[in-house]
Amino acid sequence: METKEAIIANLREEHAEALARAESDRSVRLPVLFFFTNGLLWLLGSSLLGFVASMKLHNPDFLGDAAWLAYGRIHPASTNAFLYGWVFQAGLGAALWIMARLCRARLSGIGVLLTAGHVWNIAVTIGVAAILLGEGTSFPWLDFPAFLWPVLLLTYAVMAAHLLVLYRARRSEEVFISQYYLIAAALWFPWAYLTANLLLHVFPGAGVMSAAVNAWYVGTVLLLWAAPVGLGTAYYLIPKIVGKSIYSYQLALAGFWMLAMLGGWTGVQSLKGGPLPAWIPAVSGTATIFLLIPMIAVAINLHRTVKGNHHLVNYSPTLRFATFGAVAFNLLIVTGALLSLFSLGRVTQFTYAESAVHFIGLYSFFTMTLFGAIYFIVPRLVQCEWRSGGWIRFHFWFSAYGSTAVVAALFLAGVSQGIDQARPYEGFRGSVEVSSAYLVGRSLGWVFIFLSNLMFFFHILLMVFRLGRRSGQATLLHEMEKELSAHGVNA
């Protein structure tokens, strides 16, 4: 039997907890909203650029022959705007909030952080404009002109340092798996970015190794930044929504360390058969295949955590997006492993299939998971709820359909292109024509993505201006009571 005093003490503790949560939320409110809204603006811009780039490949005279709209410029502009504009900002925003929550810590002095955020956005704007104006470097994912990398590195360091400050100020003894992932990502990225830029810009002249370092950087961003931030977010959101703790903490740790040890080896498999010492792409490919093991660890863990509560995806937008992202993570690793095989790789190498894998990683997995995080976080920052479940459903289905269409079209286009290019003594015409129809499908996918993001941007703007619903009840995808009673269940 609990005594009256014990109950009161318990209530006091809960109250203190809630206050601490509210305080840590409030302390990161501005920077988190700043990163989310700016990131979404970049997402919108890069979707538009991505659509134009996609159109150019089956309809090359689309929008005329303006220099800045040529595929060779608009494609890297879209990729870099997406990566540095959206992926990094959204990831940092979510990481800050989750870190503050899990550490029960407050962030003081957000001025430096916001300044860094502004400088970052200005630098990305200059970089994207420079690519369009023909000053890009054509180093994949590092296309910005050389003078920008120190600025980006410095501002990133400032932003990531705030994560570490929060971590050091943590009030709970416990360290959660999400914190492992977020801290690791925060530390690995500047290391990789500094290495790639130093080698390519300051110590150039290594011929083929420069391309290899570039390919390694791409792999590192995908698996040691996007993957840990996405997984760290999923590991926070999914148990939270389901209301259970993670199925196995040991398994989560094992998965984390496996990814940590393998991720840094990946990327160069995209150059297999290239003029490199053969062991380099071979080791990279092997590491990519071994990533199946941490993938299984993560998959079992998340699946077991949700087990029995799968029906919640019908109601919680966060869980629905995060589940989509978690499933796409498996697809990322499986397709990455398949394309690393020499048998399949000889067909898919240098085709659209390889960009399909990147798209799965950065969009189907990372972006969708982060959408889930934004649906969870923003109402807690602005004290109002999302305007409409219907709008969220629109956002989900258009994103899901659009991204899946892009991925499917890229794989089909890639495989058909690869098969055609493996025919001896044939001209090039066939490989262009055989992939063309799929590329039309990809452009359609981009239209869906753009529309869904337009809707989402509008929705989040309403939230930022506190025009959401004033309610204590979270906005659900479907009204829970109605649904349940329709199924003959008493709510």
Partner: protein
């Protein structure tokens, strides 16, 4: 040690090991490779430096063309890799290695091989490429037999191949008033592409640099010390084919 120290150490080791072994080590090693002289014992070759080093030095506009190639994002659609047989069929693609049954261009002097690290020596960045939306350019130098035709191709790809999806690089060309007889470099444009009477379209400095770079692309030099005929001698460009032309062209393929 406190637990978070182990954690930090783990993060550093997990990333630092591949960083050192896969990236920094090979990068430093590749950067220190020097051009190799052919036939050191050969008296004559020692005094003919322009012919006797592998890879041969690149001169003139090539480096500027490399920059234009980057600015225009050519590397997003074109690779510069001939994969060995185990990894792909690049060596049997029409024109990619400069040969083929229907090949009408110049014949490379030796059997064209897969690309090797030394082929890219001295390039600030090797544009190996990411995708083959367009054909491979490792040996594009052999395919460009007529610069004017290639300029027309860049100016309006669809006028050469109706199915091409390459951008039209109009901005690399200048429309200007014809002076007297007109320039030797003017593009022979016909139909609706033809400029108005009294005008001509000529390649800009950027277009000329790009052309210089594209013409420099060839990966057919005999590797020093490879044991192939000519590998110990000078003047790789004029040494005989390693195998009979017919067999190398692969006409035996059904």
């Amino acid at each position: 040690m406190k637990p978070h120290r182990y954690f930090t150490l783990g993060l550093v080791l997990a990333f630092g090991f591949p960083w050192l072994v896969l990236v920094v080590g090979p990068y430093a090693a590749m950067r220190s490779i020097e051009p190799v002289p052919y036939g050191e014992s050969d008296f004559e070759s020692a005094f003919a430096p322009e012919n006797s080093y592998f890879p041969p030095g690149r001169a003139g506009l090539v480096a500027q063309g490399h920059r234009v190639y980057a600015q225009e994002g050519c590397a997003y659609c074109h690779t510069q890799v001939i994969r060995p047989t185990y990894a792909g069929r690049d060596r049997w693609r029409d024109g990619w290695t400069g040969r083929g049954p229907d090949w009408s261009g110049d014949e490379p002097p030796t059997e064209v091989r897969e690309t090797t690290p030394r082929d890219y020596l001295g390039e600030s960045y090797a544009f190996l490429g990411v995708q083959r939306i367009g054909p491979d350019l490792a040996n594009a130098g052999w395919r460009i037999t007529d610069e004017e035709a290639m300029h027309r191709h860049l100016y309006d790809p669809r006028s050469v191949h109706s199915w091409s999806v390459m951008p039209a690089f109009r901005h690399l060309y200048e429309l200007r008033r014809r002076d007297g007889q007109g320039s030797d470099e003017a593009l022979q444009l016909e139909g609706k592409l033809a400029p108005a009477e009294g005008y001509e379209v000529v390649p800009s400095a950027k277009a000329k640099a790009l052309m210089s770079y594209l013409r420099s692309l060839r990966k057919d030099y005999v590797l020093p010390g490879s044991g192939e005929p000519g590998s110990a001698a000078v003047e790789p460009a004029t040494s005989g084919p390693a195998v009979p032309a017919e067999a190398a062209a692969g006409t035996a393929v059904p």
